[in-house]
Amino acid sequence: MTRLVLSGLSKRYGATAALDAVSLAVERGSRVAIVGPSGSGKTTLLRVVAGFEAPDAGTVVLDGQVLADGPAIAPAHRRRIGFVAQDGALFPHLDVAGNLGFGLERDEPDRARRLRELIDLVELDPAMLSRKPHELSGGQQQRVALARALARKPALMLLDEPFSALDTGLRESVRESVTRVLAKAGVTTIMVTHDQGEALSFADQLAVMRGGRLVQAGRPYEVYWRPVDIETALLLGNAVVLDATIEAVGVSCVLGRLAAETGGRSGRARIMLRPEQFRLSLAGPGPQAVIEDIDFRGGQCAVTLLMVRDGAETRFTAHVPSMDLPELGSAVFVSVNGAALLLGRTG
């Protein structure tokens, strides 16, 4: 059963179209990550779903309940949608217990037990209940904000770059703990993030936004390997783009013949490969290239290769395991794992 359905959402601020006909369906209990460059409308989308902002057009339907139909909207406080902002937005005048209990009914039985449960849920020390927000670290604040939103057992949870204020080390552990909590609670979640790794590992469904439009949505694997265009590809990782000629089966390019779904197209086209598709060997198969530069990154290396064919130089980067790496300046054979992706004529 589908839980949240957004259709044709549009929202303008003056001349900027912050949202442009965005449609998305989110399954019950699933986790959606929204990625996109800065200013692409991610926050606006969450604000519209949460009810802080009215769309100019389009509908928001949660479990059959219409929450927004154009500018007519249901009030935010009656939607049962949790929201965690970038900095947590904890109430500075209330302690942790006050923050956690803010959304509970006044006459909630077993309030103390509920608070204990919540603080346990986000793996914090119950002694923190009497602390003020400014006495917590950034990661602790974020977890309190999450617990506060979960206290009301929301039907949908919205997270707007919840980890971006944390530094890298902390970020990973908080993210893991938050993912665990959300899975345990089984809440449908939409998270906005700038971090591709975060998006790919967190999501059941990945949505890519650009210029207010939702350009692609699908399983992370699908979006990573079959992006609709080169911008989407680059948002999620590095890519190598080459000119190629479409053959009866597959394509041919400087790297030789590669498998590809041509979809009945013919003539010339541009293809995209991920840097980790390349294999380097001293013995072949594949055409030869010279190692121009090696950027050591621990387990993996980014190797810049130079290939000269018919007098034309082609430079590209491969990500390969750093063990048994050939020397800088040596010639290696380059082969390609898997298929190349044909980019659209405009891409």
């Binding site: 009810g51 802080f52 309940q65 007519a72 935010a76 937005a89 959304g103």
Partner: protein
Amino acid sequence: MPALPLRRQRNLAGRTMLLLAGGAALCALLPLGFIGWIAIETGWQTALALIWRPRVGELLANTLLLEICTLPPAILLALALAWLTERSDMPGASFLSWLTVAPLAVPAFVQSYAWVSLFPRFHGLPAAALVSVLAYLPFLYLPVAAQMRRLDPELEHAAASLGQSPARIVLRVVLPQLRLAVCGGGLLVGLHLLAEYGLYAMIRFDTFTTAIIDQFQSSYNGPAANMLAGVLVLSCAGLIGLEWLLRGHARYARIGSGAPRPAPRRKLGRWRLPALALPLALASLGLGVPALTLSRWLMAGGDASWQQGALAAAMATTLGYAAAGALAAVAAALPMAWLSVRAPSRATRFLESCHSYPGALPGVVVALALVTVTVRIALPLYQTVATVVLAYVLMLLPRALVGLRAGIAQVPIELERAAASLGRNPARTLLAVTLPLAAPGIAAAMALVAMGVATELTATLLLAPNGTRTLATEFWALTSELDYAKAAPYAVLMILLSLPMTALLHAQARKTLNA
């Protein structure tokens, strides 16, 4: 779950606020309209005849001399004191910082009363400049000290590592960063010098403001007073323009993340104790002299001076006016403060400058404007409580606005949204989140306005209904009759009323640093 009702958001709050702020801005434009109107009404010929007089030249010279003799020494003293209290290891630095700010609690005309009654022949420019420096130094010291504390020591370290000598570091790194604070504080002091009446009248030094009030009191609302007011407003505008030029357009912001480390304090070595001489000397002049005079007169007057029935009545009247002024000013500034925090745009910035500019207008101009308007258009309002309170509102609107803005900024919209997403409706959000967080700022704004009203003299003299006696006007009447002993208790009460404001301003200046 029952179906939720769908409603269009009509942003009623925003529109109402815009309407109210527009109304307040219109009221605030009244004095400006008055100036424009008298300029047009008087006509070139008459205006020129009234302005092109030796008397006006004399006043202009006096005003210029006063600014020149007061501002540079005040700036140098503020820099020295700020450096000593914020960046050196002078003993008791934080106490001395309080001591430097404390003269704010002594109204300027009380300060000059203290000097005149101690040295009856203390008159003219030197006296005016000395008392002005003592009375207004805190206005420069506060922002300069605040900025001094905020300076990022890393910049100085960076300059040192680039081979700059300590003297050149002060010149090329430290002073430029203090420029905004010096210019802002200097402008404030300069405007006070133009606007102050009591201080200079008491010390018999003629400025535009004293001349306007003399003129007004001798011949009522003649065009002569209005023309002088016009020249006074032009002087204010000139000062603002000068500050704008000197301030430059650079913004000094810290680049990079994280809170700056507190700057290390410079070791004074054997100068540690001698350095105390400067703050202590200023404190003994700015606080010691009023304390000495007041205690002398209080002793001379004995118990009798406290038992005047008029004293209690004046106190009650003052408190009443202060409360009314504070409530009215805060109510008038609230919509604007809300808009400028929550919905900043070009339109709201324009409205905001309409709210802020009266802060640069001398009280006497605001008062003259209201006199003229009430006499010509709404005579029943002439010399009524309503008009006085309106004058207070206009004069203190900027002060209320600044305080309210700070209060409302304590409640970022994200917090209200968080409350909504946690199921609180707008009314309960207001009660549970917005009010508790904004209340301290609102209360502080009210207190600042109330205390401004409590020591206001000029507009009260010109506008209050006949027979109204506030602490300030009663003090003024008594000192005019040279009854210094009877006046002393009034001065003491005004100082006591101003103390909380002084503490508040000092605390605010410190707090902005931690923010």
